[in-house]
Structure formats: structure tokens, C-alpha cells
């Protein structure tokens, strides 16, 4: 596994502005039958520094998508509720904003890209129309200026022949092209933060690589801070400066990409890295036995304990472990972090 360190990346110091600062985020799912809200994301603290690319890694059901959608308040209150926590955009609290103010933030200060490009664009409007509507809403551009800008954007995201594309409907574009259009819409107003929820999962491998390359370039060119939620460690290795690993609704480890891959501190991270197929090595695929705990059924102690190979009852099972700072901007949620020597890739 080759980590690609970005030339532009400067590790954050205490003085670096925080593009996104999430603390104590609690999200719950509405259970209509039982008439209560089941906690699904608990006590999440995330920090996205300025100009950083942060990866939020977790399997499906870990809560990473819910977390990223919660930032822009796109969760449907009828089924999902943000119970508590603070979400700050460059110091500005987003949770208490009026809906009108929030709408001004969406698309302008924060851009979002979603997972499935095939269903994420409106089939009834042309590419140009959908781009125009974003530009019209957040800028003062009109008429010819808007058209020029739209064409610029399409070229920026690497769509060949923008003049033809701009008049086409989504169903006339391939999956990769549609994803580029979505990216164009997300960065149209030069947002300071870009949130990508599984941006490459629905794409084929070659297109994946292209899109990731595009995202990296855009992050540098447009000077954006980027949060990428994904389950794919390959994506993380390719693009991210820092990584946060989520399991069963909690952050279990945070570190720079390099630290995470070579010196993981949480057993779950170790298992994740182990499960990566290695080039040149013939071995069976190593899955993780068992299933993550379902929402509402979280065990009282460590949530990974039932599947952990290093379990040391009663320490691991009785009390819930806290996220411990380990120096060098590395933290892990494990009581055994001091005695365990975990192996990373290339070990």
C-alpha cells in the first residue's frame, strides 16, 4: 500500500483554523413503533483543519454517512434526529442557524457530493440548468456570465466538450461524467468546505481513480478543506491527509494517514488493515468474524469487544473506553492502547 502524501499538505498546528469542528455529536433514529429515538451515533468529535483532506472511514451502518449529512442538516427529521452536539464551520455554530441562514450556507460555504451519480441528478433538467440554478442562487452572475462560468466549471472538472454537455440531460451522460457534474455543482460557488459521501463507491475502478485525482486537484486549486466519508481504505490511502475511523457510531481512532496505516493503535483498525488484499501475497481474504452491534443494542463496555482479538475482560467489557490522546495528533478509544503492539501495513 503506497501512501501518497500531498505536496500541499501542512500538518495542522494549534493555530490552524478549523474548517469544521464537531463535538459531542449525538444522532438517533426515530423508532415510530416504540415511540422513542434510538441512539446510533454517540459522542462523535471530529476536527477538519483548513486545507486538510480528512477521511472518515467505517463500514456501512457505522454512522459515517449520517455524520456527514448532519453537518449540512440534510437529515430528514421524521426519521433521523440530531439530539445534541456542536457543529462549527470556521467557528460559526451551524446547529442553531435558522433554516434560511442554513440554506445560504449550503452550496456556498459547504459543497456536497453524494454516492450514486446515476440517481443524484434530476433527470428532468439539463446539466446546464442544474448548474445555473446553483450559481444563480449564491452569486450575482446572470445571463452570459453564468453561462461562461458554467462552461468553466465543466472544464474544471474535466468534462470534455463542455458546450455539448451543458445542454444534455443526465441520462445522456456516463456515471463518471455525472459524478463530475455533481462535483461541478458542489464547487460552483467555491465553497470553503467540501463533503464527499462515498464519492467513488458506485463507480468502476478506472473512473474511481480519475475522480479521486480530480478531488485532490480541486482541493488544492480551490483551497478547500475536504471531508471524505468512505469504507474504502484504498481511497483513504490515495487522497487523505488524516483519517478518523468510525465503528458502531463512535470514533475509535484518529491519526494522520501515515500513522494510521503504519502504526494503528486500535484493534479494529488493525483488522481493517489486515483485511486489505496484498499484491504479491497469496492468502485468504481476512474478514472480521461477527457483526457490528445494532443501534439500540450497544454493549455497555467497548463496542468492538465482542469481536476483538485482544479482549481483556473485565476492563474491556464493563466500562466504555474514552478516546485517548496519544501525542502526535493520534488518538484511540482503547483501554489496552499502552500494552498492545499492533501491526500496520507493510509489517
Amino acid at each position: 500500500m503506497r501512501l501518497r502524501t500531498r505536496a500541499e499538505y501542512v500538518p495542522a498546528t494549534r493555530d490552524t483554523a478549523l474548517a469544521l469542528s464537531i463535538s459531542g455529536l449525538e444522532i438517533g433514529i426515530v423508532d415510530k413503533v416504540a415511540g422513542r429515538v434510538v441512539p446510533v451515533v454517540t459522542g462523535v468529535d471530529l476536527a477538519l483543519a483548513e486545507r486538510e483532506v480528512l477521511g472518515l472511514v467505517g463500514e456501512s451502518g457505522s454512522g459515517k454517512s449520517l455524520t456527514s449529512l448532519a453537518i449540512t442538516r440534510l437529515l430528514d427529521p421524521k426519521s433521523v434526529r440530531v439530539q445534541s452536539g456542536s457543529i462549527r464551520l470556521f467557528g460559526r455554530e451551524l446547529r442553531t442557524l435558522s433554516e434560511a441562514s442554513m440554506r445560504a450556507v449550503r452550496g456556498k460555504d459547504i459543497g456536497m457530493i453524494f454516492q450514486d451519480p446515476m440517481t443524484s441528478l434530476d433527470p428532468a433538467f439539463t446539466v446546464g440548468h442544474q448548474l445555473n440554478s446553483v450559481l444563480r442562487r449564491h452569486t450575482a452572475l446572470r445571463d452570459r456570465a453564468i453561462r461562461e462560468r458554467a462552461l468553466e466549471l465543466l472544464a474544471l472538472v474535466g468534462l470534455g466538450d463542455p458546450r455539448r454537455r451543458i445542454a444534455q440531460y443526465p441520462h445522456q451522460l456516463s456515471g463518471g461524467a455525472r459524478q463530475r457534474v455533481m462535483i461541478a455543482m458542489a464547487v460552483a460557488c467555491q465553497p470553503r468546505v467540501l463533503i464527499a459521501d462515498e464519492p467513488t463507491t458506485a463507480l468502476d475502478v478506472t473512473t474511481q481513480a480519475q475522480i479521486l485525482e480530480l478531488l485532490k486537484n480541486l482541493a488544492d486549486t480551490l483551497k478547500m478543506s475536504t471531508l471524505i466519508a468512505t469504507h474504502d481504505l484504498g481511497v483513504v490511502a490515495d487522497v487523505c491527509d488524516r483519517v478518523a475511523v468510525m465503528y458502531a457510531g463512535q470514533i475509535v481512532e484518529q491519526a494522520s494517514a501515515e500513522q494510521l496505516f503504519y502504526h494503528p493503535k486500535h484493534p479494529y483498525t488493525e483488522r481493517l488493515l489486515l483485511s486489505l488484499p496484498r499484491v504479491g501475497v497469496r492468502q485468504d481474504l481476512q474478514g472480521i468474524p461477527g457483526q457490528p452491534p445494532r443501534a439500540g443494542n450497544f454493549p455497555p463496555g467497548c463496542r468492538f469487544a465482542p469481536r476483538c482479538g485482544y479482549i481483556d475482560a473485565p476492563r474491556c467489557v464493563v466500562t466504555a473506553p474514552q478516546l485517548r490522546q496519544l501525542g502526535d495528533a493520534h488518538s484511540a478509544r482503547c483501554v489496552r492502547v499502552d500494552d498492545l503492539r499492533l501491526s500496520g501495513v507493510g509489517a
Binding site: 433514529i29 415511540g35 456501512s60 451502518g61 430528514d76 445494532r294
Partner: protein
């Protein structure tokens, strides 16, 4: 989308008292509606043995009376008991709707099954034929067929049945063609030939739920259609009376005796509502059976 996200983080569904209550409550509504409907049908069918006045017994001294103990729904312009008349008319309306639905099924289902299964040329020709039927406004077509076949109840119901047939055709055709595709796949996988009998049971099994729902929906429309035709004088002929034809004479006395207009119409509304609710329940049930596939 967020709902699918929420679903991916699945909550274990507790089977507690409240969820059972919910399921039962919804079915309870349909159940009571079904009971009401059955009661009405029984009353209509067995009206002759009930302690009521004879529907055709005139009593000119008691003309146009308001509801009383003697005449619970009042009397009409010839002194006949409205309650008895309405029950007798209900029986005729129900029987008529049944005929129309039966004609629709007989015309549409067999052809639809064959076409859906075989496909090809037959499909395009026959589908066009049924499209043609559907391109004529339904009531106009019924009026035209009645003009040709004669002004009686049965020809009128045949007319309405013809109007209904394209829907039955389409439902059976869709079900049959789904099976046809599956069976070809199956046949290409296994070496053996499926016997016609197996095909038949497959097809019928696929068609049955959709057909049952469609039949109940069509039955409701049948009641409305027969009422319209009879109101116009093109359906049931005197001395018989259906709910629609009762409204023809009642319309003349609209201002003086509005109850004569309100009562038969209300009965139509009640019948159609009951059947529609039962039809909805049947649809929920049939899609619930296939719920695991969705």
C-alpha cells in the same frame, strides 16, 4: 434516501403490544367494512323474508311520507315503502354489477393470459384491439352498445363488461408475461420441458392476487356504471328498479321530497365505499405477501 440510510442502520423491531395493535387496527377497519357489506348484501338478497312491506305495494293514501316507524325511510310518490324498494333495488344493482364484472373477466382474462404468455404478433394485434376499445369514452361506448343490443339490463351489463375488459386483459397479460420470462430462463437452465400443467399453475398463481384486487375494484365501478345507465333509461327497465333508475323518478320530486333522491344515492355511496375499502385491504394483503421480495 435518508430513510434508506436509516434502514441500513437497522433497529431490531420489537414485537410489542403497540405494533400488534397497529396491524390489527388497520385490518379491523377493513374487517368491519367487510362485515357491513355482507350484512347489506344479505339484507338485499333475503329481503323477501324480512318483515318489510312489499316493494311494489302501492298505498296511495300514504304517498310521499317522511320517515316514520311504519316506513323507516319514507314512501315514494306511489306510497311504496322506500326501505323495501331500496333493498330490492340494491339486489338488482349488485347482481348487475356482478354480471358486468363477469363479462369483463371472461372477455379479458383468457385472451390476456394467452397473449401475455405467447407474445409476438398476437400480442401486438390484440393489444391494439383492446387499445381501440379503451380509446372510446367508456360511457359513450356503453351507450352505443346498448343502442345496438337493446335496452335491457343484461345487454347493458354486457356493454359495461366490454368496457371493463381491457383492464382485465392488461392485468392478466402482465402477469402471464412475467411468468413466461421466468419460465424461459428456467427452461434454459434445466434440460427438461415443463409440462403445460405446471405452466398453468404458475401462471394462475401469479395472476390470482392481481386479478382478485382488480375484480373488486371493477365491481365497485360496475355499480356506478349500472347506476348511470339505468338513470338514463338505458339499463334496467320498469317495473324492475335498480338504485340508478330509482333516481330518475326521484329527480322529478327533488324539491318537494329530497329524501327520495338522497337515500338511493347514499346506498350507492355506501356500497362503493365498502367495496373500495375491501379492495384496498386486499391490495395491501397481496403486496404484503410479496413484501419479502421487494
Amino acid at each position: 434516501m435518508t430513510s434508506t440510510l436509516a434502514a441500513s442502520v437497522s433497529i431490531p423491531a420489537p414485537v410489542d403490544r403497540r405494533s400488534i395493535w397497529r396491524a390489527f387496527a388497520r385490518n379491523r377497519l377493513s374487517l368491519s367494512v367487510l362485515v357491513l357489506f355482507v350484512l347489506i348484501v344479505l339484507a338485499a338478497v333475503f329481503a323477501s323474508v324480512l318483515p318489510l312491506h312489499h316493494p311494489n305495494a302501492q298505498s296511495l293514501a300514504d304517498r310521499l311520507q317522511s320517515p316514520s316507524w311504519k316506513y323507516p325511510l319514507g314512501t315514494d310518490e306511489l306510497g311504496r315503502d322506500e326501505l323495501a324498494r331500496i333493498l330490492a333495488a340494491t339486489r338488482i344493482s349488485l347482481w348487475a354489477a356482478l354480471q358486468a364484472t363477469a363479462v369483463g373477466i371472461v372477455l379479458g382474462v383468457p385472451i390476456g393470459l394467452v397473449t401475455g404468455f405467447v407474445g409476438g404478433r398476437l400480442d401486438s394485434v390484440l393489444s391494439r384491439a383492446f387499445d381501440t376499445i379503451q380509446s372510446i369514452p367508456p360511457l359513450i361506448l356503453a351507450i352505443a352498445i346498448v343502442a345496438v343490443l337493446g335496452r335491457q339490463l343484461t345487454p347493458a351489463m354486457i356493454a359495461i363488461g366490454i368496457v371493463f375488459s381491457p383492464t382485465f386483459y392488461r392485468v392478466s397479460r402482465a402477469a402471464a408475461s412475467t411468468v413466461a420470462n421466468e419460465t424461459y430462463i428456467e427452461a434454459s437452465r434445466t434440460m427438461g420441458q415443463s409440462t403445460p400443467r405446471i405452466l398453468l399453475t404458475h401462471v394462475l398463481g401469479n395472476v390470482a392476487p392481481a386479478l382478485i384486487v382488480q375484480t373488486s375494484t371493477t365491481f365497485a365501478f360496475g355499480i356506478l356504471a349500472e347506476a348511470a345507465l339505468s338513470y338514463l333509461g338505458l339499463g334496467v327497465q320498469p317495473p324492475s328498479a335498480s338504485l340508478g333508475s330509482m333516481l330518475t323518478s326521484a329527480a322529478n320530486l327533488l324539491n318537494s321530497s329530497p329524501l327520495l333522491t338522497i337515500e338511493p344515492g347514499l346506498m350507492i355511496v355506501v356500497l362503493v365505499l365498502c367495496i373500495s375499502l375491501v379492495s384496498d385491504a386486499l391490495r395491501d394483503l397481496s403486496s404484503g405477501e410479496r413484501g419479502s421480495e421487494i
